[in-house]
Symmetry: C2
Subunit: 298 residues, 2 copies
Amino acid sequence: MKPLIAVDWGTSSLRGALLGGDGRVLDEMASADGILSVPAGGFPAVFAANFARWRDGRDTLCLISGMAGSRQGWQEAPYCPCPAGFSDIASRLLWIEPGRIALVPGLSREQSGVPDVMRGEETQVFGALDMLGLADAQLVLPGTHSKWVRVSAGRIDRFSTHMTGELYALLRQHSILARTLPADDGELDVDAFRQGLAHARESASLLHAAFSVRTLALFGRLPAAAMPSYLSGLVIGEELRSQRLTQAGGPILVIGSPALTERYQLALQSQGLTSQAVGSAATWRGLWTIARQLGEFA
Amino acid sequence: MKPLIAVDWGTSSLRGALLGGDGRVLDEMASADGILSVPAGGFPAVFAANFARWRDGRDTLCLISGMAGSRQGWQEAPYCPCPAGFSDIASRLLWIEPGRIALVPGLSREQSGVPDVMRGEETQVFGALDMLGLADAQLVLPGTHSKWVRVSAGRIDRFSTHMTGELYALLRQHSILARTLPADDGELDVDAFRQGLAHARESASLLHAAFSVRTLALFGRLPAAAMPSYLSGLVIGEELRSQRLTQAGGPILVIGSPALTERYQLALQSQGLTSQAVGSAATWRGLWTIARQLGEFA
């Protein structure tokens, strides 16, 4: 198998890894060239500028997941409808240069006439399953727009998007609560975070629960420095409450940055649920698994 | 009974009415002198500037409800703890000038160690009950921070705050959804509003439901002009879902501006619930009822 350039090209950032035929990561890079910063028609040039040194003189395969395959990206790779398994996305690559550069499609799902979508997370999910040898799992990929994913018999049959990270930032920076909160988030205050989780569990809606940041400040019940952790507990607690997870639904995996993974694992623990953390290696593994499947075609 | 100057002094606005001894409104005023615009120590002067013409040479009583009684206001009128009836607030006025100017206290409530508060809405609630001759009711006072209030045997025994109006504005102006929404809200699109209500009812959390604004736009399922109404349906629908109202809980009253009242009554209708609208007259009636009770003391 030729060397693989694995690329996660998102809205605001671009990350890449050079992988050997055995899947080992030989080199990594990251840049701020997210798709929103690429001018119209500029994708080939930005791609070349970022990856010339890995491609130079070598026969490489490049697989790109994430928003680069969206309508605002390099080209639009149509969504695969759910349920979808690994082979569905691997067989629907959108080739930019046949045999050399391809975009991995995202997934779509329809529920009661309302669509949901993901781009990039599907690759992380299949990578994590491959790393752990699992065919059934419940996964959360926390972030600005968290994804909850259920995998049954190797296929993603259900997923949903939650605007948790974005809502946190909106409440943190632009709402009346911003007056109560200190300028910096500071270290995670685990007790305050757990207090937020508990209040979210008892509340029927974040619309109500969020107001407690203000009243706890008003009555001097929580120091200002603990407020960001408390608010984080409220929004993550709301997200978890809406999932109604049980351990019987399969192993629970958390795929994300170390800081967010810590919070989600604490939140799952507070509901008596055990989970396993999977780092960003899941992306490279997902893309490498697609490359391996292409094998003779690439 | 001497003439009453009834004042609703809020965060960003000041409204007043001159009432005769029979409760009739003789004159009304409104200004932008909300408490946040009053400089330190400036309340007596701002009050005099706004109400001198009604007080001039006459023996009047002035009752003020709203945020003027908060820590950031003229003076702090301590909260009455719930359950609280009309006589509790009427007997705990904070007199600025004995017999002439008083602040009406707000209410506080404690649930599972988390406080909730209101200032001004309690006066509207008791005014509405008096207008309609009710001792039991379920009320919503929609706005930036909506209040849901339950009255049993003439006492407010439960209430909760929902940051519905503020969340709508945050999502509308500062979130990723802002890219999808037109610059102006435009007229209410009743069908899109109802579609938002329906999706909120089926969703376990606004964190998830709000993302549908983006996906419906992405798949061309809802025209941009209808999006603000759809989003409004999502947030109001979420608020209602969390209330679990039934008609058996007593008459449902909506106290607010005509535009918001229309939306909340549509939302209640969509759940098969009938409600009654009460306009801003409820504030004047509430303050006049307190004045009447003071009778000989004033």
